[in-house]
Each structure stands twice: as structure tokens, then as C-alpha cells.
């Protein structure tokens, strides 16, 4: 699975970039994810894929894989060899067919 499904206009790209650029937004996302998602013009299937941690569906919709990897770290952990390793394994599990890894 490469860049062939990439869709540059997807709103999830903005969400992920805002999350990595803003500690305050990350705190809010952890405490009240719905309120954060409400502020982005997400498609219904796009939002559902985020809520169910379905990276496979997000990639099918057009999420850039590099930002997909970062989204996994934003959700599951970002520390080298610890949370980041869990994030990679969860992401791969989803992409290799499991879909939702909530």
C-alpha cells in the first residue's frame, strides 16, 4: 500500500498536522476528541474511521501514509522503543487487514 490512493484535500491531514504542532490541541483531543473532530470538515466515513482507529479505511479514503504513522503515534504513544513501537505495531496490524484497532 503506497501513495496511489493519496488524496491531498483530505481534512484529516490538517487534523494530524495541527495535533503534532500544538500540545494544547493534543490535550484537548485526549480529553474531548469529539469537540476537536467537530471543528474539522470531515466526511462521515472519514470521521468514523478516525473514531474506530481504522487506519486501513483512512488510507483507502486517501490519508497520506507518513501522516498515518504520525497519527498512530499521536494516539498510541510517541516515545522511542516504547509507545512509538506500540503505535507502529497497531498501525501495521490495521493496514495488514484488521482494520479497526481501537
Amino acid at each position: 500500500m503506497g501513495l496511489e490512493k493519496f488524496r491531498a484535500s483530505l481534512a484529516t491531514h490538517d487534523l494530524i498536522q495541527d495535533l503534532k504542532w500544538s500540545p494544547e490541541l493534543r490535550e484537548e483531543f485526549a480529553a474531548n476528541e469529539k469537540a476537536v473532530l467537530d471543528r474539522y470538515p470531515l466526511r462521515k466515513d472519514e470521521r468514523h474511521a478516525i473514531e474506530t482507529r481504522n487506519f486501513l479505511a483512512l488510507y483507502d479514503i486517501g490519508l497520506h501514509p507518513y501522516l498515518g504513522g504520525q497519527f498512530a503515534r499521536l494516539i498510541f504513544g510517541n516515545e522511542a522503543g516504547k509507545g512509538a513501537a506500540i503505535a507502529v505495531n497497531k498501525l501495521v496490524e490495521s493496514l495488514q487487514g484488521k482494520g479497526s484497532v481501537a
Partner: protein, 291 residues
């Protein structure tokens, strides 16, 4: 005529810092030998400025307004950006910038028909700049740096021929526009094979990596431009391996010259093949470029 006195390519996988201690001894040996050799060569070159080309990794710009080349013009470069610190596992660093060379580069590339963008504020650096800065001791050496963050992953991606053209313009800029006695170092930061964020996140294409290292060390740029296609790099690791386009920019600037590699290693936790090349920039080397 300013002179390119140092040219190298090396990966910047974050694990090279945060996960190095836990790596097997033979892996550590290759990593430490490679970057120490590149650092020693950089120090010996006595360069006045280091220009680093590296994948931006979608760290600085929206996908909808994504530049192919973004020059860092700051007087001081600080990194890594806050969110990347635990992921890389590295210390904070500050590197002196060169606003004058950065401005000249921006003007010089614009004049040569190469669209670059430039930013005076500090860029957000992840492993792209942080790893080479720390492993080749740029931070400690005091050499001023001009980072150029490159689009290696957001389609449409400037391919190997375009990046080589950019490199040729870069070489012309260095020789014609910079002060006559200036000594310039070039580093292409990125690769080797890896697939960050992909279904094959742990995939490392050892065959591709060894082929690539041998090819760029051979100095055969015609073969490089004919065979190092985006399709080939995507097959060797989607969204990551094409960071080698940063090396191609450097090669376009220096022309065909032999280089030396310092070994190659794979380690699953790095999720990236590791090996670097230092090209021979001694003045008696013949200069030729692929068409």
C-alpha cells in the same frame, strides 16, 4: 569561485539515536563508524558553510500548500521540534545559521529557474536534520548550516531527473554566486530503504540498498538517472526510500565522482537500511555530469 569541499549522503532514521544503544554490536559498529568518518571528514574539510538537503516529512507545511524545496534562513537553527523529541530520543541542539548564504541560495536558484521557498523563522526539524546534526557533530563544530527541506513524499514528487537538475543549478550557484574563497559542504540526508507509516513498516530492501550504495559510489550518473526511478524507490519502501532524492541533488551539484561507503547494516528496530557515502572532492578529480 567558491568550492565544494565536502559531499556526503547518509540516512537519518530516528532509531540511529534513540534505539542505537539497544542495537546489536555489529550494527552499532557500522553506524558509529559511518557517522564518525563523515564527521571527521567534515571537520577536515574546513568548510565555511554546510548546506543540507533532507526530506521535510510534512513537518512544516500543509499538504495543500506543499513546497518542493524550503530553505531555512534563520540565524540560528534549534531542534528538534517539541513533538519529535521523545520519538527521536535526542538532546536539544542549536546550530548557527547563515542568513546570507540562505538568501543568496534563494535568489540564485530563483535566477536559475528553480522555484524554492524560504523562511526566516526557525523551521520545524524532526529526524531529517536532527540526526545528521548530532551524529556528524555539526552542532559541536560551529559550522554554519543552511537546511533545505525537500518534498520527497507528497505527490507529485520531483523525480530523480528534476532533482539532478536542481543539483546542477545548486553547483552553478555555489561556483558562480558565492564569494570566491568560500568552502562549501553538502549533505544529502535520508534513505536508505524504508516505508514509514506503510503496511510494510518493518520492511528493509537490502538488495536495493546495496545496489544503490554501489551505484552512487561508482559515479555513474547516467545509470543512476536511468534506473533510480520513483517507481523503483517506491517498490523498495513507499514514502521513505525516495528520500534518496536528497542525495541526487548533491550528486547533481558535484558531478560524477567516485565515493566511498563505510559498510551497510540492517536492524529491524531502525526500520531503515543504514549506510553512508562520502564522495571524493579532491581538486584533481575530473568533473563530468550526466546530461
Amino acid at each position: 569561485m567558491a568550492e565544494i569541499v565536502y559531499a556526503a549522503g547518509a540516512p537519518h532514521a530516528p532509531g540511529l539515536i534513540g534505539l542505537l544503544e539497544a542495537a546489536p554490536a555489529d550494527v552499532k559498529d557500522v553506524v558509529i563508524h559511518t557517522y564518525r568518518t563523515l564527521a571527521d571528514a567534515m571537520a577536515s574539510a574546513k568548510a565555511d558553510v554546510l548546506i543540507v538537503f533532507a526530506n521535510d516529512h510534512l513537518a512544516n507545511s500543509r499538504v495543500r500548500t506543499y513546497p518542493d524545496f524550503l530553505i531555512g534562513m534563520a540565524a540560528e537553527h534549534r531542534g528538534p521540534y517539541e513533538w519529535f523529541k521523545p520519538w527521536i530520543g535526542c538532546e536539544d541542539y542549536t546550530v548557527k545559521g547563515s542568513p546570507e548564504v540562505a538568501a543568496a541560495l534563494f535568489d540564485g536558484m530563483t535566477k536559475r529557474g528553480i522555484r524554492m521557498f524560504a523562511q526566516t523563522e526557525n523551521l520545524k526539524f524532526d529526524d531529517n536534520i536532527s540526526v545528521p546534526v548530532l551524529l556528524t557533530n555539526v552542532a559541536g563544530s560551529g559550522i554554519p548550516m543552511v537546511p533545505v527541506l525537500q518534498n520527497c513524499t507528497v505527490p507529485p514528487i520531483p523525480d530523480q531527473r528534476r532533482c539532478y537538475e536542481v543539483g546542477k543549478a545548486l553547483g552553478d550557484f555555489i561556483r558562480e554566486d558565492l564569494p570566491a574563497d568560500m568552502r562549501v559542504a553538502l549533505l544529502g540526508s535520508g534513505g536508505l530503504s524504508h516505508e514509514p507509516g506503510g503496511a510494510r513498516y518493518y520492511f528493509i530492501d537490502e538488495e536495493f540498498d546495496r545496489w544503490f550504495l554501489d551505484l552512487v559510489a561508482s559515479g555513474d550518473h547516467e545509470k543512476l538517472l536511468n534506473e533510480l526511478t520513483l517507481e523503483k524507490m517506491e517498490a523498495a519502501g513507499s514514502g521513505g526510500t525516495a528520500e534518496l532524492l536528497a542525495w541526487v541533488v548533491v550528486l547533481g551539484a558535484i558531478g560524477s565522482k567516485p565515493g566511498k561507503s563505510f559498510g551497510y547494516t540492517v536492524h529491524k528496530d531502525f526500520k531503515c537500511g543504514v549506510g553512508g557515502v562520502l564522495w571524493d572532492m579532491s581538486p584533481n578529480m575530473p568533473k563530468s555530469r550526466a546530461a
